[in-house]
């Protein structure tokens, strides 16, 4: 009995997905998708309707065989939404356009980061959307946002983008070493430094692990980095580090103790 239910369930799952635009009160196929674009861009339509139209079109963009016929109109529609829709809808449209590396959306986002008055979305969201395009040319803007912003969410997002910017290495290292920075920003900086200069991260991690006054989250990040990417030869020569790990595997808060034990096993400490 159970089996037949499972089979039925699987069959339901395997059945072709219904036409995404069918949920709206529109025709089928290309004509229906065109009507959905009309709803999505209609300022007079209810927000729920416009959002449903956008979601339906987004679904169709993945699998509808005739979507290519209206792709241009869809992109033009999304750009229109960016210009005049309420925040909730605008945000969705911006994300879709950013994923497609649309120059219109990118220009609006960069303009917003340079000038608050032109910002369509919060800076952390703008940075997130811009991260879809490495070649958007925002490295300088991102470094600037990082240095000027006091919002950790924004700074964290900025560091994430800086992980592909070799010119930001020194800034990242400085942030990583700065105990006044939040643990989240420093952890993201550690990941960014690993992407840009893994050796520099290892050196910092080995040194920081010896610091008894360091934040536990940061210590955990250091030990994890060494556990995952450490160089066995370097570790075997670093007596102070080995001694510290040995101590931590006996006497440290549970999480650090666990990581230290893992390190002891891996490096034969």
């Amino acid at each position: 009995m159970k089996k037949s239910k499972a089979i039925k369930k699987a069959a339901r799952k395997a059945a072709p997905a219904p036409d995404p635009v069918a949920k709206l009160d529109v025709a089928e196929g290309v004509e229906g998708m065109k009507q959905a674009i009309g709803i999505m861009t209609d300022p007079a339509a209810a927000l729920a309707q416009r959002k449903a139209a956008l979601n339906a079109l987004q679904g169709a963009s993945f699998g509808h065989p005739n979507f290519k016929e209206i792709r241009g109109e869809y992109v033009a529609g999304l750009r229109q939404v960016v210009d005049d829709a309420p925040q909730e809808l605008l945000q969705d449209a911006l994300e879709i356009l950013s994923q497609e590396q649309d120059p219109y959306a990118e220009k609006k986002l960069v303009d917003g980061l340079r000038d608050d008055k032109k910002a369509l979305v919060k800076p952390e969201d703008a940075l997130h959307y811009l991260s879809y395009n490495l070649h958007a040319g925002v490295q300088g803007v991102v470094r600037n946002v990082f240095e000027q912003s006091k919002d950790d969410r924004v700074r964290q997002q900025a560091v994430r983008l800086m992980s592909s910017d070799p010119q930001a290495v020194k800034l990242i290292e400085r942030t990583l070493k700065d105990k006044k920075e939040s643990a989240e920003v420093r952890q993201t900086s550690a990941a960014a430094l690993h992407a840009l200069n893994p050796q520099a991260l290892q050196k910092w991690a080995e040194k920081t692990a010896l610091d008894k006054n360091e934040n536990q989250e940061i210590l955990a990040a250091c030990l994890t980095a060494i556990n995952q990417f450490g160089d066995e030869k370097t570790i075997s020569k670093n007596t102070a580090f080995r001694k510290r790990i040995s101590q931590m595997s006996k006497n440290a808060p549970p999480r650090l103790k666990q990581i230290a034990k893992g390190l002891s096993t891996k490096y034969g400490i």
Partner: protein
């Protein structure tokens, strides 16, 4: 319709758009298509895209697209990455003098791209953000123009040779080229070696790439193809004598571990002879040496062309394949031909001819009488002894055989060597048994034929080896290169 007007861009772009609009000469516009033009310095990819599209649009407004613009136009269609540029390139192409059947390949590639990224573009405004057209519409239009052509066998004249993107430099031209010895290169394992040492003693096939390239038809495909090149070299038994290298445009980001991962993920063979390299310092020197076609924004490449080089055993560029799609077989043939003519190729050929002198050495009184009558008895000062002459002849014959054996490595023509050997034996028999002189003439003829065949052959599939060429510059020089060096649009 959401539109971005030129006035909304930064000052540098506004100035560029205005300056391009005012240019009247096609040469000046063509100069702007060179990625190295100062106008692109420190401009991000999105800006470079807009600038180049604007230049191409300006070119398309002329009565006819200059042939020198074809490589750039076809490049945008063959390796499509931006909807606006693809739409513009499609328009440009149909302004060329005639629809050549070979354009179909590039247009098919562009069509596939346009179907997936058919964005609205406005071809009347700088930047193209607006509506009115789309890449699909423009590519369709150009395909229709192409279909209007007569059948391939009766239609068009050949395209200029430089459109292929293939250039060669002969031995003399290479000797004049500047050396690049001191730039330190680091491979995927972190091993460091200077340029001079890395590329010394063997031909090398070099490609340029960077791991953050987002155009799958450029860097990723180039490195995959380099893997195929390695296979082809192995199949031909050349893997030990021809090395391969992929050098990154982005040395600050492409650290050894990233190079290693990048190569592994693309099935690249990596060992002593086959490496992925970066120049942590001195990349600018590499850039100048290879005249790399790239522009940069901070450390990131904002634009680059496809670039493949065949280096000779001193690390000098002997051939290049640029911008257009390249065939792995062509590159391997080029390197094999270079290897065949490597080193003392000239000396080898000289030696082949020297052997022919052997039969001409006088060996009997009648011969001497003939020579004396030719030069005049008064010019005769001293007649060397017969044994000395025989030794000299034997020396020449052995030299001929040795050189022919050397050439055998390059040509693999065993029957040519056999012919030569037969000729030498015939002459030797003539001495030993003194039969009629006919045998000597036959031997000399056989040696002559073998020598001529040997020097005429370098590689069956290339049109001529590097060292065969007697010109003192690139064999196929893209006119744009010349224009570039004088391009002086000040912005």
């Amino acid at each position: 319709m959401a539109v971005i007007h030129a006035t909304e861009y930064d000052a540098a772009e506004r100035q560029f758009a205005k300056a391009v609009g005012e240019l009247e000469s096609a040469d000046q516009l063509l100069a702007l298509l060179d990625e190295r033009h100062p106008a692109y310095t420190e401009q991000p990819a999105a800006v470079v895209t807009r600038m180049r599209a604007w230049v191409l649009l300006a070119l398309s407004r002329a009565a006819e697209l200059p042939a020198a613009a074809l490589p750039f136009v076809l490049e945008e269609l063959e390796t499509p990455h931006d909807p606006y540029l693809v739409a513009v390139a499609a328009i440009c192409l149909r302004h060329y003098a005639f629809p050549h059947p070979s354009f179909a390949d590039a247009l098919c590639q562009a069509l596939l791209f346009a179907k997936a990224r058919d964005y609205p573009v406005d071809l009347e405004i700088y930047g193209g953000v607006g509506g009115g057209s789309s890449p699909l519409r423009e590519v369709d239009g150009t395909l229709a123009w192409l279909k209007s052509a007569a059948p391939p066998d009766s239609c068009c004249p050949a395209l200029p040779a430089f459109v292929s993107g293939h250039s060669r430099w002969n031995y003399l031209a290479r000797r004049k080229a500047a050396h690049l010895e001191q730039v330190m290169l680091e491979d995927q394992f972190g091993r460091k070696q200077k340029y001079g040492a890395r590329f010394h003693g063997h031909p090398t096939i070099v490609v340029f790439f960077y791991s953050r390239c987002e155009n799958p038809l450029k860097c990723t495909l180039t490195v995959w193809k380099l893997g195929h090149v390695q296979q082809l070299l192995a199949e031909r038994g050349l893997a030990d004598s021809i090395h391969t290298a992929a050098i990154t445009y982005d040395p600050a980001y492409d650290t050894p571990d990233k190079l290693l991962t990048y190569g592994r993920n693309r099935n690249l063979r990596m060992d002593e002879r086959n490496v992925l390299l970066r120049a942590p310092e001195g990349f600018e020197e590499l850039q100048r040496h290879f005249a790399l076609g790239g522009s940069f924004f901070e450390s990131l490449v904002s634009r680059h062309k496809i670039e493949v080089f065949v280096l000779d055993k001193r690390g000098r560029t002997a051939a290049s394949f640029e911008r257009k799609r390249w065939r792995e077989e062509d590159v391997v043939e080029e390197a094999a031909a270079l290897l065949a003519g490597t080193g003392s190729g000239k000396m080898a050929r000289f030696g082949s001819w020297v052997g022919l002198l052997a039969p001409l050495v006088p060996k009997c009184p009648i011969c001497w009488a003939a020579y004396m009558s030719s030069f005049g008895v008064t010019g005769f000062v001293a007649q060397p002894s017969a044994s000395a002459l025989r030794a000299l002849t034997a020396f020449f014959l052995l030299l001929h055989l040795a050189v022919m054996a050397w050439r055998l490595r390059a040509t693999s023509w065993h029957w040519s060597y056999a012919l030569s050997l037969g000729g030498v034996l015939a002459i030797a028999l003539n001495w030993l048994w003194s039969p009629p002189a006919t045998l000597t003439y036959l031997g000399a003829a056989a040696m002559l034929m073998a020598a001529v065949l040997s020097v005429s052959k370098t590689d069956p599939s290339t049109k001529g080896s590097i060292s065969d060429e007697a010109v003192s510059g690139p064999i196929q020089k893209n006119p744009v290169r010349s224009i570039n060096s004088h391009g002086d649009l000040s912005l």
